[in-house]
Symmetry: C2
């Protein structure tokens, strides 16, 4: 994801207004190392600016995803996760606490048996237990 000020530029170019609510979402995403859900982005935003509706947060997140500035991840953890890191990378998902970490993997070769299928993207999801949850035996 670009910087908040670059996004400001981009939004204006698209004919979209740069509102404080949108800027707050930009900032919340920029300062996120985890992979927040819409709910947690909303929580971060309302911490500084109450009265921002969850509806609006969803709107902005969808706008950003539509522009390719962030990625929406469906990791089977219930809610969608939003990832400001759009470089090619993959994910570690803790099956206990649900935390998501970035991980870089050697490019995954498109398998021969994929003939007759045009591959646009490959995503690798590693499931397991993170540091905090590893000691917990099942």
């Amino acid at each position: 994801m670009r910087t908040p000020s670059e996004l400001t530029q981009l939004f204006r170019e698209q004919g979209l207004k740069v509102t404080p609510q949108r800027e707050a979402v930009f900032r919340a995403l920029g300062g996120s190392v985890d992979h927040p859900t819409a709910e947690s982005v909303h929580a971060a935003v309302t911490a500084e600016m109450p009265n921002v509706s969850l509806r609006t947060v969803y709107q902005v997140l969808n706008d950003l995803a539509g522009m390719g500035e962030i990625h929406a991840l469906e990791l089977g953890t219930g809610a969608a996760r939003f990832d400001p890191n759009v470089d090619t990378h993959h994910h570690l998902v803790c099956t206990v606490c649900g935390k998501v970490r970035d991980v870089y993997v050697d490019p995954v070769a498109v398998p021969v048996s994929a003939l007759g299928f045009t591959v646009d993207s490959a995503e690798v999801v590693f499931r397991g237990r993170c540091d905090d949850c590893a000691p917990v035996l099942h």
Copy 2:
């Protein structure tokens, strides 16, 4: 997934009754090459045996998944897909029509940066367009 008759054995060993409804689900899954949703399993079942409730189909699918006889796939296509193929393999997901195909990939190496994370499984999802949908431009 094992054969319907093996599953019959297994269910009895677990103290579970082998009902016609459960057998119908076994057969529906056994004869599926695609990756059906609960809804489509239900459709296949009710084709031969009306009055089987969707609720019951969900039950049986969850039982089978709990026993490791099938896998529940969360591929971001809305509904969960159920896969009777429990061999190590991965998936091609058509972003246009939603069809899912099996694909076999060389074992994905767990990346070094995954230290501090105990990996239990790795799943690779290739997204793109299948034969039927490839000609459709965007």
